[in-house]
Amino acid sequence: MQEKLLELKNLKTHFQTERGVVTAVNGVSFTVHSGETVGVVGESGCGKSVTAESILRLLDEKSTRYEGEILYKGKNLLDFSISKMQEIRGNDISMIFQDPMSSLNPVYSVGNQIVESILLHQKCSKKEAYSRAIEMLRLTGIPSPEKRVHEYPHELSGGMRQRVMIAMALSCQPRLLIADEPTTALDVTTQAQILDLINELKLSYNMGTVMITHDLGVVAEVCTRVVVMYLGQVIEEANVEMLFKSPCHPYTRGLLKSIPKLTGDRLEKLHVIEGKVPTLHQVPKGCRFAPRCEFASQKCIEQMPELIEEESGHKVRCWHFKEIIGTGEGHYVNTSS
């Protein structure tokens, strides 16, 4: 059994806004083991990025309040002082962000930024740190890293910058990597390369990885387990095969149906989940997905369903999932890809 690295227990993240308190993450729980990639999937605004940033407590602490537990190797990060958190960040837990174009500081060379990370957490000379930075750049597949290390972010392409971000995030060999939509801003061919790279490095370092994404293709590619989020809640959790073969929640089923297929009838329109995600100021009282759900009953509107374990390792938050599975609209996506 792999070591349990990260365990979120009923994590809630509240923001103080001008229009009152909103709860962007509402009772999220999941576990990440070393060597495992957990995907967190959902639409924009479902709270997946906030969950990611909550783990490292990167949100502005003046207007943010956390509840629940974020256990890293059994210790609750929410109890840590800021300086203790600064020791964890970049050293034990690293993060890669969505937009490599704006995630690197434009006025410092990429080498400088990687070295900064190394010098913060490791006892070594500047020279050693530079050779380590070059080594990391080489590891992430950047050609002639000795030259590139002195270049500035604007001199590199998007894919290269994301490689630099990865090199920087992994320069201190963290145990856990949080990747917040690492491929969203990249073109498709680069996306595949970056995913392969993250996968490869995860295996060689035996890291745990949290992959935040809205792209189910990415999930199928790299994840072992998936957490589906909707409006700040986990609505389904399963391992990848299970989720793609027998999705239980109507939202997950909708997501899977909305993926364009290469085979079959071209004229068939893509599935659309009707309605819009409500804002956090007007969260539905019962099931949060009820207003957009074709199966919603009176009970769904009035009562919030709990996340229950349907079978071993497959959790779902829906009153009617059994009936819905019964409708026979089962297999959507070929998992062998």
């Binding site: 600064q86 993060m95 937009d99 957490h121 920087m168």
Partner: protein, 316 residues
């Protein structure tokens, strides 16, 4: 890089041509005749006419301009009959006090304003932020001569810490030099400080929300380093622009402050020359001020490249 500087220096030519025409016309359109000012109220019309001829003031305007402009191109800015020295000599002998004053005012403004702006940005919306920004509003609104008078009243007349007015050159010792310049520098720099503080605050607010700041935080960089290493350098470009642009107001303000504090600088030279209708000095000095303004902006543009690699012109 050299080509760029050369290009910028060449662009000085049209700027100076426009400045020369405007300055020339404004001076010659204002009433008052230098010849009668020089000779005094008791001079006979014949004497005045003779002197006018001698000074070339009887010539048509375009010819006067042509004579003057040809002189400038040859490096001759003209001669002051009042001070019995060339305009260049007069300018150089008055440059020292103004230079000291302007530098001191700018240094005071930068040292005060940037930390205030940074603190205000970090504590956005707090009492500290609001009081700093209120203070900066006062700094922008209060004219420098008024502030100068208040400062004199408080620190020189009441507390007797500093001299009321006057100027001691650097050759009398740094301490004495600074003692005389502190109050005028504060009076002159207050508005600069206010403008720089406001720009620092808004620029920092922008930058502190940037993604790379979050990246730095996720690496475990300490908050102080985030602010001063990662954010401030990025925020500095618009701050630098304000510093460059307000240099013009600094020179204009120096004229007023020098008068209040009785400092024999360029400002006072211009003001006195205007009163005396000393055309050659006014024209020549303003040309030189215009040149230094353009040069300072060139230096600022070159500094952009030092701060931000994206605007560096060529890499070797």
């Amino acid at each position: 890089m050299k080509g760029y500087i050369l290009k910028r220096l060449l662009s000085l030519i049209p700027v100076l041509m426009v400045v020369s025409v405007v300055v020339f016309l404004i001076i010659h359109m204002t009433p008052g005749d230098p010849a009668s000012v020089i000779l005094g109220p008791e001079a006979s019309p014949r004497e005045v006419a003779e002197l006018r001829e001698q000074l070339g003031l009887n010539l048509p305007l375009y010819q006067q301009f042509a004579n003057w402009f040809i002189g400038i191109v040859q490096g001759d800015l003209g001669y002051s009959y009042f001070m019995s020295e060339s305009v260049l000599e007069a300018f150089v002998s008055h440059l020292g006090p103004t230079f000291s004053l302007a530098v001191l005012a700018q240094v005071f403004a930068i040292i005060l304003a940037i930390p205030l702006g940074v603190i205000a940005a970090r504590r956005r919306g707090s009492v500290v932020d609001q009081s700093f920004m209120g203070l900066s509003l006062v700094g922008i609104s209060v004219p420098s001569f008024l502030l100068g008078l208040f400062l004199i009243l408080l620190f020189a007349v009441e507390l007797k810490w500093l001299p009321v007015a006057g100027y001691k050159p650097l050759s009398n010792g740094v301490f004495l030099h600074l003692r005389y310049l502190v109050l005028p520098a504060i009076a002159l720099g207050a508005m600069q400080a206010a403008l720089i503080a406001r720009m620092t605050r808004s620029s920092m607010l922008d930058i502190l929300n940037a993604n790379y700041i979050k990246t730095a935080r996720s690496k475990g960089v300490k908050e102080k380093m985030i602010v001063y290493k990662h954010a401030l350098r990025n925020a500095f470009i618009p701050i630098l622009t304000v510093i460059g642009q307000t240099f013009g107001t600094l020179v204009a303000g120096a004229a007023v402050v020098e008068t209040v504090f009785n400092i024999p600088g360029i400002g006072q030279l211009i003001v006195n020359s205007v009163e005396r209708r000393d055309f050659a000095v006014i024209q020549g000095t303003i040309m030189l001020v215009a040149i230094s303004y353009v040069m300072i902006n060139l230096i600022i543009d070159l500094l952009y490249g030092v701060i931000d690699p994206r605007v560096r012109l060529s890499r070797k």
